[in-house]
């Protein structure tokens, strides 16, 4: 699957999610590349490994045996002074030992190592942290999940799907140190175990996201989706909504006439402008007859027709959102059943899964009667899928 088709799917998922929120009607959607600073850091981390014999017993001779002189340790353990000297140097090198040759003692790490029979050593670690380009605040741990794609500078410039946004401020040199001092730094993907943070290099990066302008029944709001686990990215949304550059563009498009944007798109699909109907003061539906919704695949469909699966879903020509609709309730019921069947057969689903899904789709598609699991089972049998094997959950 190409990255653009993946991005389109992500856009549709974001729109569907927003539309499913209570009282929310999505109006416009913008695919944006949010500016980030990618800071490459060096840090130290304590690693644990098994102790070797000489290392451990020389540590024990100091910690438990109370020896403080190299010669005494050598005599006690029956090892040559030369060897003890080597081990002491090694232990000193890994931060287990302090003091001079006549006044040796273990450091806190050395004591812990001896106590736990684990060799704790300091290792150099390299990591990359992201800071937003608006306030230079750290991104949250959720942004480092696999599901969140972050584009490095070159990848950001190479793609055209997401509009690149400019950074407002350069990288603040103290940002990492401030984050390091935060008691909740692990919330920002900086575990407490990483110490001695130093910034090695700062580069530009972008976080692909979708900014959805929506009406919540009372006012226009902006929702932001970036692929973090719960889809909606409240952290980014908060930055976005307090960023004048972004809010200005969002607000200036509020006054645009959507028909201007839809006209060409509809003309291409041989859809009369009359098909566009205001749902309320802000949003549209594209009401098409049942004949425009076909069960065929995209390759075999004529231009201007849509898959029945798309009935009720949202399209966004030139960023403006409109809902594909059909006034024929049986067609909508059929669409509910088709979508539910696809959902049920994609992977193993449970009865509660299906009940929730049917409720959501019914809410979106407003069939003539509420579609139940029994209806779905019947539909599955008619469509030659047999009886659906739904778990009890």
């Amino acid at each position: 699957m190409s990255s653009t088709s993946t991005d389109t799917i992500l856009q549709t998922r974001a729109l569907e999610h927003a539309a499913d929120l209570p009282g929310i009607r999505p109006l416009r959607i913008h695919a944006l590349a949010f500016p980030l600073h990618a800071a490459e850091l060096s840090a130290t981390i304590e690693e644990r490994g098994p102790f070797n014999l000489l290392d451990r017993y020389i540590g024990l001779a100091i910690a438990e045996g109370g020896f403080t002189r190299l010669q005494d340790i050598a005599t006690f353990l029956g090892v040559s002074e030369h060897m003890v000297d080597r081990v002491l140097r090694f232990l000193g090198g890994i931060g287990h030992l302090q003091g001079s040759a006549d006044a040796l003692s273990l450091t806190e790490r050395g004591l812990r190592s001896v106590r736990d029979d684990r060799r704790y050593t300091e290792k150099q670690e390299r990591l990359r942290l992201y800071f937003d380009g608006v306030r230079c605040g750290a991104l949250r741990t959720a942004h480092y999940a696999h599901s969140v794609r972050i584009l490095d500078r070159d990848a950001g410039y190479a793609q055209r799907f997401y509009r690149l946004l400019p950074e407002v401020c350069g990288f603040r040199p103290g940002a990492v140190a401030e984050l390091g001092r935060c008691p909740d730094r692990s919330e920002y993907d900086l575990p407490d175990e990483l110490l001695n943070l130093e910034v090695l290099e700062v580069g530009r990066a972008f976080l692909p996201c979708f900014a959805i302008r929506a009406h919540d029944g009372g006012r226009l709001i902006t929702l932001v989706y970036s692929g973090v686990s719960e889809l909606r990215d409240h952290h980014l949304e908060e930055i976005f909504n307090s960023w004048p550059t972004a809010t200005h563009v969002m607000e200036s498009t509020d006054s645009e006439e959507p028909r201007d944007h839809f006209a060409e798109w509809m003309r291409e699909r041989k859809i009369a402008l009359q098909a566009l109907t205001w749902v309320d003061h802000y949003s549209f539906r594209l009401i098409l007859p049942p004949s425009r919704y076909l069960g065929r695949t995209a390759e075999t469909r004529e231009k201007g027709t849509f898959s029945l699966m798309m009935l009720g879903s949202y399209v966004a020509p030139r960023s403006h959102v409109l809902q594909l609709w059909c006034d024929d309730a049986p067609t909508r019921t059929k669409a509910v059943l088709n979508r539910a069947l696809a959902y049920a057969t994609a992977t193993r689903r449970t009865v509660p899964d299906m009940t929730a899904f049917l409720e959501r789709v019914c809410r979106q598609l407003e069939p003539d009667a509420h579609v139940t699991i029994d209806d779905l089972q019947r539909h599955a049998r008619e469509a030659a899928y047999g009886t659906l094997d739904l778990g009890e959950g």
Binding site: N52, F76, L77, V79, H82, M83, R89, Y157, L165, S255
Partner: protein
């Protein structure tokens, strides 16, 4: 594309285009947030000189001119069209900024700086330049693609590594396909065996059905069980002893089965891994590829300040200084007898002094052990390798042997320490003494209490018995004190009267008034007499009091000394004091004994309670510490009672020197993370590049020691054939197979990075002179005196020519069908006979001799003939061999038979003249050559012909050239 800053000068002048106000009204209806004309003027003015204005040059559509688009305040874009006179711009269009505008700005564009942006009403008011040409130029420059990044790995390096990888992969394929799976050797019984076990690896004996089909040293696995792999250690009477590569569950070995030969692919895998390490930039020597491929070396200053532990000659010292400091790669060429091993050892010792870990490596186990075996004992030297591969002289350096030795030494050394701390164990002597002292101290405390008690009783009794006497004494004391005071008062009054008498006496002597004073004088005199008399009375009373008091005191003493109650109480008290004293002395004795058993400082002991209590407290802590140490030591010794591989990693970590073959450095897991400062590779002239890389990628720098004029690598002939067939036009590929990395590098290595050891101390000067001139450009000098004593030959280099014999007698031939030697080999009977006599001659003189021959058949023939003369075939076999067996060695007498004698003048193997260099240069006293000069001097191979000619010239002028018959006769006459 970067954003370029364009300076537009002091002012950019704008005017509204004719239609702009109308267009603006339309736009503001659609976008109410857009500013009006005044707002735009204000925003432009606010941009001022401080803010850079983002801009792009837009291409005019349909033949129209290009124009400028500026983005104001991040809110809207203005389209500016340059005026014809280039003095400003007309503002033609406005739109609010959309995300696509931001996208374009981020992707690239211009940043405009102007002293001010100002809107005028009329065209003629524009006075400044628009800066349009500068904008066009900057735009044209800026949109060119950024330069390609410098590739991280250079193309030449990649090609080099690819070429090596191709060779290794092909070698691996050849090796893998060489094993014949159908060639199974069945066995019908497996039994446990008693052998030397240096590790837990399994060793078992197998009764073979056809023992002749396997040879000792063959790598085999049990058919169908490829992981049950090992090496045949020996075959004796049809029983093969197989040492497996790891411990094997005996139950898994089939009672009867078959062995299949295992192709040894490990070496290829390790070579491939080394190439990948280099390719991925993970080699510890980051400069290695540059040195190998580009022949680029970093400049450095030799460590001239370092002194070797033992003496080195000038060239050895120079090599020593270079080896210690070279940052990437150094090459030391060591011709025969120049002391390269000695030089290597000095480098090793100097590195060890600086705690720089050294890897000693070479292609063969023998070469590695040759360097390791004489390193001093104060270095921790480890030998890592396959059991059985390591030479006997270095087996004690093996990891398991070292660990076992360390364990044994620790057990020995800690024995007395354990005994000492054993005293602190529960019921140990120190513990017993401590308990005794605790008890004694308790008794001492009790005794002290008793002493106090009896002292109080004595005092009470004394009070009672002497009460009356003491009261009377007190009363007398009081009376005495009162009379003392009275006497003092009288004395005082007497003195006062005395002074008054003096004055009155002087006044009485005055005329007129003296009469009155005379009366007063009389009265005063009377008073003074009275006072004096009273004082005398008091003094007498005081005397009486004193006498009474003395009497009372004597009475008190008498009572105290004799009163029975008091005497009894005093005696009781004195008894108690004695008990206390003896308790203290006893406790002090115990404490002193205990002190001798304790570790650490303890306070001085004296027989008093406070001192002993302080000691007891310190002793308690010391005993506690000793018990902890005892437990620790017991645990330590317990851990070392059995073989423990836990020590291996530490031994490796703390070793000064580790020796392993090239492939061995990669096959031992213990060496995986070892950080070597330097890899010293000996006999590098015999190691091909792919093998050499295996140790080299593991050390930060490398010193190659070898001689590319001696034996070259022994390449796989199948690989040479493959390269010739598949890559005929790639001589570099072929050289990577046949030539050592040393040979490939040496000519292009700068003088700072290489050294030729110039002084040989083995060969007689005459021989050395020949070797130096022919092989080392005359640079090799002799630093040894050899006096020639020989009753056969007049000079150290002698040649016995067989050319005088009839051709049928002197000719070489192939072995016959009934002869046991390889059929493609050659032998020469007349040479063999003479060699046998010569060897017997020198053997009889207890001389140190060797016969070096180029062909296996000739070796076999001479060995069998010699065994008849000398007897011990094994001893003979060790002394008659090809030159490969003698590399690095030396003998007083070297007998060399060229073997080949034929009318075709074909010299076969001999054409590799470097083998002759090695063979000839083994001699310490004399080199005796035997051959047919007519064949040798007319050899078809030009290289060999030159050598033969030079040799001929040398023996004629400085050596001893003899005929075969003459030498034969002399030997028969005087065996």
């Amino acid at each position: 594309m970067e954003r370029r800053v364009v300076d537009l000068g002091a002012e950019v002048g704008l005017i509204w285009s004719k239609n702009f106000p109308g267009k603006l009204i339309g736009q503001r209806e659609r976008h109410p947030l857009l500013p009006g004309l005044e707002g735009i003027c204000h925003d432009l003015w606010a941009a001022g000189p401080r803010n850079l204005v983002p801009a792009r040059l837009e291409r005019g559509r349909e033949g129209r001119d290009d124009f400028l688009k500026i983005y104001v305040d991040g809110r809207y874009a203005l389209m500016l069209f340059p005026t014809q006179d280039m003095r400003g711009y007309r503002v033609g269009w406005i739109h609010p900024m959309h995300f696509s505008d931001h996208d374009q700005i981020v992707r690239g564009g211009l940043l405009l700086r102007a002293g001010q942006w100002r809107v005028y009403d009329h065209l003629y008011q524009l006075h400044h330049s628009s800066g349009w040409p500068a904008i066009q130029t900057a735009w044209a420059t800026g949109i060119t693609a950024p330069p390609d990044q410098e590739p991280s790995v250079r193309a030449s390096h990649i090609a080099y590594l690819d070429r090596l990888a191709t060779l290794v992969n092909q070698g691996r394929r050849i090796e893998a396909s060489a094993g014949d799976a159908s060639r199974l050797v069945p066995y019908h019984r497996v039994t446990p065996v008693a052998v030397t076990r240096r590790s837990a690896r399994s060793v078992h004996a197998f009764q073979l059905i056809d023992a002749n089909r396997l040879t000792e040293g063959t790598r085999v696995h049990i058919d169908g069980e490829p992981d049950l792999r090992g090496r045949i250690e020996r075959i004796n009477e049809g029983v093969a002893t197989v040492r497996f590569e790891r411990p094997v569950d005996f139950g898994r070995i089939p009672e009867s089965g078959a062995f299949a030969e295992s192709p040894n692919l490990i070496a290829y895998d390790k070579k491939r891994a080394a190439i990948e390490i280099l390719r991925e930039g993970r080699a510890r020597n980051p400069l290695l590829l540059t040195a190998l491929v580009d022949h680029g070396f970093q400049s450095f200053a030799p460590a001239l300040g370092r002194r070797p532990r033992e003496r080195l000659d000038d060239s050895q010292l120079s090599a020593f200084h270079k080896a210690l400091a070279v940052p990437d790669l150094a090459l030391i060429q060591g011709p025969p007898g120049t002391g390269k091993t000695h030089t290597i050892r000095q480098v090793v010792l100097a590195c060890a002094e600086e705690e720089r870990k050294v890897l000693i490596s070479s292609y063969t186990n023998r070469a590695v052990d040759n360097v390791l075996q004489d390193l001093p004992e104060d270095l921790l030297v480890l030998r890592v390798g396959r059991e059985g591969g390591v030479t006997p002289g270095c087996e004690h350096l093996m990891l398991d042997a070292r660990a076992a030795e360390l364990q044994r030494r620790i057990a020995e050394r800690t024995e007395p320490v354990l005994a000492r701390y054993g005293a602190a164990a529960p019921d140990g002597p120190a513990d017993a003494l401590f308990r005794q002292l605790t008890e004694d101290l308790r008794r001492l405390t009790d005794a002290g209490t008793q002493v106090q008690r009896s002292a109080a009783a004595l005092a009470e009794c004394d009070d009672f018995v002497t009460a009356d006497l003491r009261r009377r004494t007190t009363a007398l004391d009081e009376e005495g004190r009162r009379h003392e005071e009275l006497l003092a008062a009288h004395v005082h009054a007497f003195q006062r009267l005395d002074r008054a008498l003096g004055k009155t006496q002087r006044a009485a002597e005055l005329p007129l008034i003296g009469r009155f004073f005379r009366r007063r004088l009389t009265r005063l005199q009377e008073e003074q007499h009275a006072t004096d008399a009273a004082s005398e009375g008091i003094r007498r009373t005081l005397g009486a009091i004193a006498s009474d008091r003395a009497q009372l005191a004597a009475e008190l003493d008498q009572v105290r000394a004799t009163h029975p109650d008091l005497v009894s109480a005093r005696q009781a008290h004195e008894r108690d004091l004695a008990v206390q004293r003896s308790s203290a002395e006893r406790a002090a004795r115990v404490a002193t004994s205990l002190r001798e058993l304790l570790d650490g400082d303890t306070p001085e002991i004296s027989p008093d309670t406070a001192s002993l209590a302080a000691f007891l407290s310190t002793a308690g802590s010391a005993l506690e510490l000793m018990r902890r140490r005892l437990a620790l030591l017991t645990s330590w010794r317990g851990r070392l009672e059995r073989r423990t591989e836990q020590l291996y990693d530490e031994l490796v970590r703390y070793a000064d020197v580790i020796g392993a073959t090239c492939i061995g450095t990669a096959t031992s897991e213990h060496l995986n993370d070892v950080d070597f400062d330097v890899a010293i590779v000996d006999e590098a002239g015999q190691i091909s590049t792919a093998d050499l890389l295996v140790p080299l990628v593991r050390a930060r720098r490398a010193v190659l020691v070898g001689d590319h004029v001696q034996l070259p690598p022994l390449p796989d002939q199948r690989l040479i054939a493959w390269a010739a067939a598949e890559h005929p036009g790639d001589p570099e590929l072929a050289r990577l197979i046949t030539d050592s990395a040393f040979e490939l590098l040496f000519p292009s290595t700068p003088q700072e990075n290489k050294e030729l050891l110039r002084f040989q101390r083995r060969m007689p000067e005459s021989l050395s002179h020949f070797i130096s001139r022919h092989f080392y450009g005359g640079l090799l000098q002799t630093d040894v005196k050899r006096v020639h004593h020989d009753n056969l030959f007049a000079a150290p280099v002698a040649f016995v020519d067989t050319a005088e014999l009839p051709e049928r007698e002197r000719r070489d031939r192939k072995p016959r069908a009934n002869e046991p030697w390889p059929k493609d080999s050659r032998l020469n009977e007349c040479e063999a006979r003479l060699l046998t006599l010569l060897a017997t001659h020198y053997h009889a003189k207890s001389d140190d001799w060797a016969v070096i021959l180029p062909y296996a058949a000739q070796i076999g023939l001479v060995t069998s003939l010699l065994a008849q003369h000398i007897g011990d075939e094994n001893a003979v076999a060790r002394r008659v061999a090809t030159v490969d067996s003698f590399q690095g060695g030396q003998h007083d007498t070297i007998l060399f038979g060229f073997t080949l004698s034929n009318p075709y003048r074909n010299v076969g193997f001999l054409r590799e003249v470097r083998r002759s260099n090695v063979a000839f240069s083994r001699a310490k006293q004399r080199l005796i050559l035997l051959g047919d000069l007519t064949t040798l001097l007319n050899a078809t191979d030009p290289g060999f012909r030159d050598l033969a000619q030079a040799l001929h010239d040398h023996v004629r002028t400085a050596g001893d050239l003899r005929g075969y018959r003459e030498v034969m006769r002399r030997l028969r006459e005087n065996p």
